[in-house]
Symmetry: C2
Subunit: 78 residues, 2 copies
Amino acid sequence: MATKATFYHAGCPVCADAETAFAKALDPNVFDVEIVHLGEDKARLGEAEAAGVKSVPAFVIDGRAYHINFGADLAALK
Amino acid sequence: MATKATFYHAGCPVCADAETAFAKALDPNVFDVEIVHLGEDKARLGEAEAAGVKSVPAFVIDGRAYHINFGADLAALK
């Protein structure tokens, strides 16, 4: 069964670049990728923060946060 | 044709975790992944640095550096 991978972003250029490089290129047999725009879907900020996300773009995979470069602080999206 | 993706690491726990989460899970139809241990293969430090890698673990894809969380500064490996 595919592992759930959530990609959090905020529409920033760094986010868009990471999305192209990773979110759309993970093996679909391994990952079931969900893409969440935290600027538009602020209701999901809490879950991202709870998983350890400090900035976007970031993935949460198996409950662990993986920050890819730096686009924006989560605090800036509240 | 698959895009070349180089994963630079230094054997650190953060590196190993990122390797499991990403380097081994990229779509093999999209990426041809090479894994480079910069602690053991110091001759490759220069190419990593030239591509913009500041710390490990990091990927270089299409000449762009993507740092995943933070394991160690490149300077600490010289």
